[in-house]
Amino acid sequence: MNKRSFVSITDYSKEKMLKILDYAAEFEANPNRDTLANKVVATLFFEPSTRTKLSFETAINRLGGKVIGFSDASTTSSSKGESLKDTIVMVSNYADLIVIRHPLDGAARYASEVADIPVINAGDGSNQHPTQTMLDLYSIKKTQGTLENLNIVMVGDLKYGRTVHSLLMAMSHFNPSFTFIAPDELKMPDEYKQFCYEKGIKYHEESELKDISNADILYMTRVQKERFQDIIEYEKVKNIYTLRNKMLDNTKPTMRVLHPLPRVNEIDTDVDANEKAYYFKQAKNGVFARQAIICDALGLI
C-alpha cells in the first residue's frame, strides 16, 4: 500500500486540502510545466467516463507526463476474466501512478492496497470521487475567497449523490451551514445528518427549491429517473428542482451555481449566461485541482 494514494476524501486532512488548493491556484496561474517529465501515468477506466478521463489526461499532458491506459474494460484483459488485482500488479510494473475508475464500490481502495505505486480514485461505483470534491472545494474557495462560514445549499438527489456526500464531509472542516433540498425519496441520508449533528454543523431540510436568498453556493445535482421506485413520483418532482434564471434574481451577488455535470434538465439553459452560473468554469478548475493531486501523489510538491 502506497501512503500517497488518494482514494477517499477522508484521506486528506484539512491542512492537506488547503495545501492542495494552494497548489491548484499555482497550476492555474501557470498550467504548462515539465514536472511530470519522464513519468508515466496509467489511466485505467474500467467503465467509460469521457469527461473525467479528459480532465485527468489534460492535467498529465500539461505537466509533460506520458499516459498509458484504456477507457473501457470491454477492450481489456479484465473482460477475459483477469482479476483486478492482476491488472493492477501488472500496470504497477509499467507506470509511476495509477488513476482508476471502476464500477464497483471499494475497487480503488483495493487497488491502492495491491499496487506498490500511488493510486488516485477517479470514481469507484457509487462510493467516492474525491478529485471531484477537490475541484468543488477549489471552485468554492476561488469564487468566495474563503471556505469558512459559508451557506451551502444542496439540491436534487442527496440520497445517492456521492458528490454531495463527499462535499459535505470536506466542508465540515470549515464551519458551514447546509440547506438540503430534495424530494422525499432522495433526502440526505440520516448517517450524514447525524455526522452534521455530531460536528455541530447547522443544517435544515426543505422539499422545494424556493428561498435561496442566503446561499453562497447553490450545488445542483441531477435527479435521475432510475432512482425512483414510482415513476409518477418522478414526474411530479422533476420540474420542482429545475433552476431557472429568474430564480436567481434575489440571490447574493457573490452567489455561484455549481453542478458536477453532466446536467440534463435540472438547470435551464437560460441560466448559462448569468454570471452566477459557474458549472463550466468549475469543470475547467478540475484540471488544476488534478494537477495538484497528481503531483502530490508522486511526491513532487
Binding site: L104, D105, R109, Y110, D124, G125
Partner: protein, 153 residues
C-alpha cells in the same frame, strides 16, 4: 452443574475454557467462527439450556484450550453478551466479557452486492464505528452496516 433431578446437564471440566450465555440461535455460528470443528481436544456443546439471565442459552466447554482475546473477540458481533470462564483445576480462575474489537478481519461479508469484496477474492475488513450498537463500516466500499444486517462469511 450437577442437578439432583435432571442429572448432569453439562459436565464440568478440569482445565480449559467455558463460553456461557450464548444465544441459542448463535451457538453453532460461534462454533464455526472459532473453528472448533477443527480442534481435536474434548469439546462439550449444550444448547437450549435454561438460563436465569436470557431464558435459554447455549454453552461450550473446551478442555485444555485457552484462547487469545483477539480470537475470542471475533464472536462479539453475534454474541456480545456471552461470558467467558477460564477454568483451572475445576475452578473458575478468570471471568471475562467479550470485547468488540476495533477491526474485524475476514469474518463478515459486506451487505453491499456492488462491493469489491463480493466480486473479487478480497478478504473483508470492517471498522467498528459504534461498539454499543454494534455498527461496522466496510473498509472498501465505506458502507455502514448495523448489527441486524451483519452477514457472517
Amino acid at each position: 452443574m450437577l442437578d439432583k433431578k435432571k442429572g448432569l446437564v453439562v459436565v464440568a471440566i478440569e482445565n480449559g475454557t467455558v463460553i456461557d450465555q450464548i444465544p441459542p440461535d448463535k451457538l453453532f455460528k460461534v462454533v464455526s467462527i472459532l473453528n472448533l470443528d477443527t480442534l481435536d481436544c474434548q469439546i462439550t456443546v449444550g444448547n437450549n439450556l435454561k438460563s436465569n439471565k436470557i431464558g435459554t442459552k447455549g454453552i461450550i466447554k473446551i478442555t485444555g484450550k485457552y484462547f487469545e482475546p483477539s480470537v475470542i473477540n471475533k464472536i462479539a458481533l453475534i454474541a456480545p453478551n456471552a461470558k467467558l470462564n477460564i477454568i483451572k483445576d475445576y475452578q473458575v480462575i478468570e471471568k471475562r466479557n467479550i470485547d468488540i474489537p476495533d477491526e474485524i478481519n475476514n469474518i463478515i461479508r459486506c451487505a453491499n452486492p456492488k462491493c469489491i469484496t463480493n466480486n473479487e477474492p478480497v478478504e473483508t475488513l470492517f471498522h467498528v464505528i459504534d461498539k454499543e450498537n454494534v455498527k461496522v463500516k466496510c473498509h472498501y466500499c465505506e458502507r455502514s452496516i448495523s448489527q441486524e444486517s451483519i452477514i457472517m462469511k
